[in-house]
Symmetry: C2
DNA sequence: GTCTATAACCTGATAGAC
DNA sequence: GTCTATCAGGTTATAGAC
């Protein structure tokens, strides 16, 4: 039997290096050789542990994805227990969805950035892989949201929460660029603030649209 | 002197092919050889007309960018003339910003998708190139928005409009995937509807946050 | 499990003929 | 302006020694 050691294993070092480089540069822009260099690994070892670059990408994704989503579901369960059968507020639902995401980003920005980058990778197998990972989560959150905002068509509910998710990952990916577009306070510098404001922002927008799903009112 | 011909020039065919492939696959995932194949061009001709792949990317971007932003500014001017000195509504500002974008996407999805893809390309020179293109536009729209929502800190105003922009391009890039996550009506199938709802969504969210910039209220 | 060496291939760019 | 042919260098993946 091996003892647990403080030193990381080769495959952990590979995952760490890949995660950092994928987040910073994107997946296609990162070669296995850069990963081996950063991680102090041999290129053949990557193939031994992961079989291919694509499998390494999935391994990086899965390593952090499950913990993130379990935490989201845990917060949702907790909120539902506290509400003892009553519908949740949309704020509570947005909190359960985004709090783990913002916290994960605060603790280690790399994984959340990869989520954003991977989402638009044009590989259909990779897309299907990701879509499957989200299926349960979406079902649970959509059911809760439908109770929070009765009368709001589920498809629209999904659309706008997905939209908010997109705004978040886009913004996090652009966090380096924001100061170049506008100097001054950047909410991402205070993640807890950002989360609070995000929930207000999303809740106000979703509430305002409640009931307008089928026939949106005129613009003016 | 050459006559104007209906047949497209080589460099136009190159731009068309590059635009289509960049939009579908991303920039790094598209090789010059794929572009030459799709456009029926020779690889040396690309280098003759554009010098390098990076220059071709910029040429694709600039070909459509100016028309889009000129239209945004034209709509803003028009709205300001109609308001004759009074502050605009935030709805009118969002309309001027997003209407040309949604319409451009409706007419030819490719360019808008490239805007989204290029934004997160890790090349710092490319980022600077894009940031410069946006400088004037941001100044004009931010000034109008600051009058529409007095008391709202400009940095936060920028942050949240940028957030909405991110939500839009993220959603457009994901338009193929949305049906896999949730079957049912997808707002992108009715772009005019999407635009109206987007403006409502953004206006409600921005108005709700007005005045909360410095000290966001408690969550519950 | 980890290494060296190498295969097989694709990339952007260019020289030089036409 | 457009072609063919080619260069120099990068890519992933793997065979085989240790």
């Amino acid at each position: 039997m091996k003892e647990k050691t403080i030193v990381k294993t080769t495959s952990e070092r590979a995952l760490d290096a890949a995660e950092a480089l994928f987040a910073k540069q994107g997946i296609r822009a990162t070669s296995l050789r850069e990963i081996t260099e950063l991680g102090g690994i041999n290129i053949a070892a990557i193939n031994y542990h992961f079989r291919s670059k694509e499998a390494l990408v999935r391994a990086v994704y899965e390593r952090s994805f499950h913990a993130l989503n379990d935490e989201r579901l845990r917060l949702l369960d907790e909120a539902e227990r506290a509400a003892s059968g009553e519908p949740l507020t949309i704020e509570a639902i947005l909190y359960a969805f985004f709090e783990p995401m913002v916290r994960a980003w605060k603790e280690n920005p790399n994984f959340i950035l990869i989520v954003g980058r991977l989402q638009h990778e044009p590989d259909p197998e990779l897309s299907a892989f990701i879509q499957n990972l989200y299926a349960d989560l979406i079902r649970r959150f959509l059911a809760a949201a439908a109770r929070a905002l009765p009368g709001y068509p589920e498809a629209d509910l999904f659309f706008w929460v997905h939209f908010l998710f997109g705004g978040v990952v886009y913004t996090l990916l652009a966090s380096q660029d924001i100061p170049h577009y506008h100097q001054g306070r950047n909410l991402l510098e205070t993640p807890d603030d950002f989360l609070k404001r995000l929930i207000r922002f999303g809740a106000a927008a979703l509430r305002d649209q409640q009931g307008t799903g089928v026939r949106p009112r005129q613009l003016r």
